[in-house]
Amino acid sequence: MRDVAIVSFAQHASRREESRNEIEILLPVVREALAPTGLTSQDMGFTISGSSDYLAGQAFAFVQALDAVGPWPPISESHVEMDGAFALYEAWVRLQHGDIDTALVYCFGKSSPGDVARVLSLQLEPYVLGPLWPDAVSLAALQARALLDAGQVTEKDLARVVARSRRNALGNPYAQLRGEYDEASLLEEPLYADPLRMHDCPPVSDGAAVMVLAAGDRARELSEHPVWIRGIDHRIDIQAPGSRDLTTSPSTRLAGQKAGVTKDIDIAELHAPFSHQELILTDALGLDETTTTINPSGGALASNPVMVAGLVRIGEAAMRLQAGEGHRAVAHATSGPLLQQNLVCVLEGQS
């Protein structure tokens, strides 16, 4: 395997964007990510994006977004209808071919123009589930109830996740929801999608993120502090939510094992749009909160740009390693309903 590193990362500060379109959001983020490398998008061996046409409400919307990187003269590029984290995986595989040394990964999504909880129904199995249009919040609430009923967690545990997320987000200029909240007052809030409260659900966020990857010595040339991808793996659970145990995530557990998650993880960035999902992921990855800092960015509960929040987890973990906040990190991204698909990667800074 070739060693591949993250050499640069940039993200848009999540919020509801009323006036700017996807390309206008993306363009300055592409420039910011490229700047420290001294490269242009034309220098990249491979370019790949992650986005969803269903958010834009338009077929092949991702083609228009290529204007943000400039596809002329023709560049080698690809696209996944998934979060940017899964685009990163394709770029990592492409770099393993050995004939190129650099790749640009970008992703974007505007959730705010539509009803994103309903739009996400379109990812469901289309014959016996999709026609009922169960929204993403209602489904998440079914999972939370299963977890609470099983006695594995309490409502207080959910409030603790939310309070920590918003407290950590105070130090994250890109986050959308931040502040000091105590668990007791969070629990006094009314139930929304019983058993979830509004604060157990993610905000509606528009965003974009861009990452530059490089292999081997090229990474050392481009960055004084490259962050190496030591392992990466993507696994999938059964599609039908009623046919699997919603209180566990076997695919995350397996991906974590394959990616090489061990006990010596300093930082974990977990893509958990709902509070209870962070507890499922922490358990599946065998993380111990007393030794591993969980979601120092605030995570997806603090800002959840759909199609972007997964790559942001990897970028946030990488930037913290680059800043010397730890040596080894795990980053996780999810896709599909109720943590159906999970990607885990293990990152290391320079020793």
Binding site: R118, V128, P134, A146, D194, I238, P241, G242
Partner: protein
């Protein structure tokens, strides 16, 4: 704008939907011995195709294994007022089917007994099940 795709539902899902038209709920025996409702086209453990000839009928009453409250009904939902979603393990099945549950919020509990309420007209679609409703005690 919508794309008017016509889908073929396949031998197993097709048989399940035809069963609904006939007011029966069918499940598949998978390679681990579980009876899976709704039945998938492929076995989740072995990835082998499920044979439609092995489908079995399960009960029309079952147990709520999880539920949630939907405060914002959306276009296409079974109800146009706030309602509950439930995962229901029908008698004879080892997995749960998701559908709406027509019951007052303060009466719903995990473990409660419910039954299928059929639509007035059944056509071979998931909405042939109008919803679940509590079994009168």
């Amino acid at each position: 704008m919508e794309f008017a795709y016509t889908r073929s539902t396949g031998p197993v899902v097709g048989a399940f939907l035809t069963g609904l038209r006939d007011r029966k709920v069918l499940g598949a025996k998978d390679s681990t011995g579980r009876t899976v409702v709704p039945p998938p086209e492929y076995d989740a453990s072995s990835a082998a195709p499920i044979e439609a000839s092995t489908l079995v009928e399960v009960g029309q009453e079952g147990t709520v294994t999880s539920w949630s409250w939907n405060p914002v009904p959306r276009l296409g939902n079974p109800f146009d007022v706030p309602f509950a979603w439930a995962l229901v393990r029908l008698d004879g099945a080892d997995t749960s089917l998701l559908h709406a549950l027509d019951a007052p919020r303060d009466t719903i509990t995990t473990g409660m007994r419910v039954k299928v309420r059929w639509a007035a007209e059944t056509v071979g679609f998931i909405n042939d099940i109008a919803c679940f409703e509590p079994v009168a005690s």
